[in-house]
Amino acid sequence: MSPSALPSSKKRSYAPHKIAFYIGLVAVWQLVAMAGVWPSNIFPSPYEVGEDLAYGALDGSLLHGFATSMWRLAVGLSISIAGGIALGIVMARRESFNQTVGSLVLGLQSIPSIAWVPLGILWFGLTDAGIIFVIAIGAVFAVTINTYTGVKNIQPHYIEAARNMGATGGRLITDVLIPAAFPYMISGFKQGWAFAWRGVIGAELLFSYLGLGYMLYVGRSLNDISQIIAVMLVIMATGLAVDAVLFKKLELKVMSRWGLR
């Protein structure tokens, strides 16, 4: 998803290429804007977008929007992680549950989170709860399916050894199933995060009730394209940062502990 996630050579650093590419991109953008092909309210220059970013940062509106979206996302994603782990484990351990509820999960997983917005609005109104519902339901099945796969792939000997040493029920889940399935579960969290992040922006656009998505909506209503682009840059940067910092760190830690890297 992030550029650094694409396969790259370890020996050679492409940092200078990257820097040059982005400087070039901004320069071309500036030149096109200056050429005056389109009016600046339709095609703002990078300078104007930068101004908007700085303005939004200074008056706190960007930060507020960012914090609102992040808060909703954190609550929604927590719900989907907790629910997804529980569902996934039961599906992996109870075949009857897997054949019934599991088949429904597969179906529900194919629904984009944005499609839950109408239900969210009708059930919860134009509230935080409605947006959180959209986030949680959009992300929960990715966590479920990855947890299921992870638990299914646990070496039977781990479970046998644990049971043999007296681990049953909750103990077996917390001390064996979850840690043993964790490498798979991280993929679930990553996917869940990606769905949740898309979900929260989409839901906020449609609920038009605070947050970064709402700021996009406002930008559209006011024909303020530079604000739209400024907010989009914040959305992109957040996505990259969470992926590269949070998940990469978590993944590296688990992988090195297991000796998979």
Binding site: I154, A162, R163, N164, M165, F182, V254
Partner: protein
């Protein structure tokens, strides 16, 4: 009363369309403090039998009596040391060793005290903070043995624990296992198809027949300890075991099974490692048994 008694244990495996009888009514008595080695041709079901004793698999017939009472569930009175160790890769060596204590609710300080003792006994103190992938195969088996011993089980069940080790490491662990047995007075059941291992370790060798397996003969082994694989008298003893084993292997005719006595005959100490190729050599039926075993484990 025997510590552990198997009465008429039978077990079938489904193999494509037909049923295959692995265990044909195994009877075995193990007294407290016995070190019983189970040997038999590859795929004869001795590992399956051990898993039934552990309660990890249900027999189709017969009973396991523990202190005279029938047992069906698995539990820490009979702790299993798996062939591949089955150590938890997400835990450090120390946490692996303490796992069983933790699940039985023993407080942290007490756990540390106990694990320290066994880490020391298995010469693992230096590696206490390592993760298992950082250890050699031999080290892993030491951890697996330490993890089993901390549970202070009445019976220790070892399923070919040294099969994946190189000869040197195995010889070292053969000596150490005897010392542990002498120090802890544990009752041990040890599955191997390595005749030399059986001769070195056991107070008794139980020879399994070819499928459907029964215990064909129990041979007591009173040689003085410590024993090493190339003791002259032990080599004669190994031949005695082989005498029992050879017709069974011929009946089986599996590639893996045939390798065992042939190699062992040339030079029992060395040949043992040749026999270590394990059940993986054998044909379909064994693979099916293995598969069933794995499947059984997921439940």
């Amino acid at each position: 009363m025997a510590k552990l008694e198997a009465r008429g244990i039978t077990k079938y495996f489904e193999h494509e369309s037909h049923r295959l009888q692995a265990l044909g009514g195994v009877n075995l008595k193990v007294e407290s403090g016995d070190f019983v080695c189970l040997v038999g041709p590859s795929g004869c079901g001795k590992s399956t039998f051990l898993r039934i004793v552990a309660g990890l698999e249900k027999p189709d017939g017969g009973q396991i009596l523990f202190d005279g009472r029938p047992v069906t569930e698995t539990g820490p009175t009979r702790i299993m040391v798996f062939q591949e160790g089955a150590l938890f890769p997400w835990l450090t060596v120390r946490d692996n060793v303490e796992f069983g204590l933790k699940v039985s609710g023993i407080p942290r300080e007490k756990r540390a005290e106990i694990s320290e003792r066994y880490l020391d006994m298995m010469q693992l103190t230096k590696f206490a903070g390592s993760y298992t992938h950082q250890l050699s195969t031999g080290m892993k088996q030491r951890v697996a043995i330490a993890r089993a011993l901390v549970m202070d089980p009445d019976v220790l069940l070892m399923d070919e624990p040294f099969a994946a080790l190189d000869a040197q490491t195995r010889d070292l662990l053969l000596v150490e296992t005897q010392l542990i047995w002498a120090r802890t007075k544990k009752t041990i059941m040890f599955v191997t198809h390595n005749v030399a291992e059986a001769a070195v370790l056991g107070t008794k060798v139980a020879v399994f027949s070819n499928r459907p397996s029964v215990v064909k003969r129990e041979i007591p082994n009173d040689f003085p300890r410590p024993r090493v694989p190339d003791d002259k008298e032990l080599i004669d003893f190994q031949h005695e075991i082989l005498q029992e084993l050879r017709p069974e292997v011929r009946k089986g005719g599996g590639a893996g099974a045939a390798a065992a006595p042939a190699a062992a005959e040339e030079a029992p100490g060395e040949g043992a490692s040749g026999a270590n190729k394990d059940d993986t050599d054998a044909e379909g039926t064994v693979a099916v048994e293995e598969e069933k075993r794995r499947e059984g484990g997921t439940r």
